[in-house]
């Protein structure tokens, strides 16, 4: 009996995941955001590369230059997270969703997991495209790069973009409307966050600054967290955001 219940539960989850994936897949905004991010990323990478070639930043380092555009391109991933959550609330799709999957925790977990599945390859492609572009464009002019640190930095950038997308998705669930969520998150990540980073060293525990340590080398900044700790802090923020959105989502009217 209990085995049957367990099997039906896991089956229910797989079906919910498939449904969420299909919804994401069919959302044009997802593809437009990801494609747009990739194109803008390459344009920004070109700008950074040309600045690097002019010798403004010392010996050009392929990793530093290739990943520099991530701090701007995260806007695309933030919007992706918001769109994924808030599209449920434009036009009342949420009622259909909850009729099909009445268990809200299951639905929200499946939605976040589906978003993770979509966003991880996209983040890898985006991060790698910048680095690859920089490697090709800089060629011999660059300092040599080793495989280990390249993989580590790319993994860090991918993890950062993925977790930031999930935080945005949780905030989208909380706020339910695209524009206010975009104002709040973009305002935080692009205005409040950088300013706080300059003001106080305590800012290193905030989601953006902690996440930066995963892929942005700050050797001169003694207050920065080591990458592993930064990743840990960012994961904690992601789980907290998810937990809050889950509690609110379960307890309110759709």
């Amino acid at each position: 009996m209990s085995a049957e219940v367990a099997r039906s539960r896991s089956r229910e989850f797989v079906q919910a995941l498939a449904a969420e994936l299909s919804k994401l897949w069919s959302l044009p905004a997802v593809w437009l955001t990801l494609g747009g991010s990739l194109i803008v990323n390459l344009i920004l990478a070109a700008a950074f590369i040309s600045a690097g070639l002019q010798g403004l930043t010392g010996t050009p380092n392929v990793l530093d230059i290739g990943l520099a555009s991530i701090s701007y391109i995260q806007a695309g991933f933030i919007i992706l997270g918001i769109v994924a959550s808030c599209s449920e609330y434009t036009g009342g799709q949420i009622r259909t969703t909850l009729t099909a999957i009445p268990r809200r925790s299951l639905q929200l977990v499946a939605a976040h997991l589906a978003l993770t599945i979509v966003v991880i390859p996209a983040a890898i492609i985006t991060a790698a495209s910048g680095v690859l572009f920089a490697a090709i464009a800089l060629g011999d002019a660059s300092a040599s790069m080793e495989l280990g640190s390249t993989v580590r930095m790319l993994a860090g950038a991918t993890g950062y973009l993925g977790l930031t997308t999930l935080i945005s998705a949780s905030c989208g669930v909380l706020l339910r409307r695209t524009l206010p969520a975009a104002i709040a998150l973009l305002g935080y990540y692009f205005i409040a966050g950088p300013l706080l980073r300059e003001q106080t060293t305590q800012a290193r525990y905030l989601p953006d600054t902690a996440g930066f340590s995963m892929w942005f080398p700050q050797p001169e900044d003694a207050s920065a967290l080591p990458p592993a700790q930064g990743a840990f802090v960012l994961v904690a923020w992601t789980l907290a955001a998810f937990a809050i959105s889950l509690v609110v989502y379960r307890s309110r009217d759709a």
């Binding site: 950074f48 701007y72 919007i79 769109v83 524009l179 973009l186 003001q199």
Partner: protein
Amino acid sequence: MRALTAELSKLTSLLSFWVALATGLIVPTAIAALNSVSTRKEIDLGVETAVGIDMGYQELAFGVIGAIIIGVIAVSNEYFTESAESGGGRQITTSLIAVPSRLRFLLAKATAVALVSAVLASAAAVATMAAIRIVLGEHAPEMGSEAIPRLAGIVCYWVLTALLAFGITVLTRHGVIPLAILIVNTSVVTVTYLLTRLTSLAYYLPDMAGIRMFIRNLEDSTVEIAPLVGGLVMTAWVAALLIIAAIVFCRRDA
């Protein structure tokens, strides 16, 4: 005139509008207060002797996010589609029935946005300068007659940026894209600033030219632009954009 009153009434009935007002007031004031506190510490320690020439003005350049939000929501809210249960309508159809002349409608809306941004900018400038005065006391920069054109420059910059956001949103008919572009570009290191590393022509982009109206000490700038010229360049950009927006708006289906 009645169209203008209507637009003002629509704008002030939006929750996001009040959020934008609060953001525009609080962001520059809070940053200025924080910066003043750290400057005060440095002065007391004897590290610094005088405050920077751009104290207060650079903070107000961040506060423009409030004006951006106003410009965006004024248009995007017209195109927000209601859910299917409440008819799936959009405000724009009602608005154009009430004011059939599209040019007059757009003009009234732009005027409302400009008026509100001007008031917000003036209030934010007063609040920011007051915050600096309170924290720094006798070390606060002198506010002589030379401050008047700079403060006027702030107001012009905010109004023009709001109209820029307004024009882009008329073209996109959705708020997220202009919001993302403009907020990312209000960040501490703006994208347009990066572009100036590539080509000095980027100094003539609307925001880079516009900040010349009130920022006197632009970091390693290679092109000097007089405040008045900067203002005119930005006005030309905004005028061109608004003309394009007006042509598109008058010709397409709502």
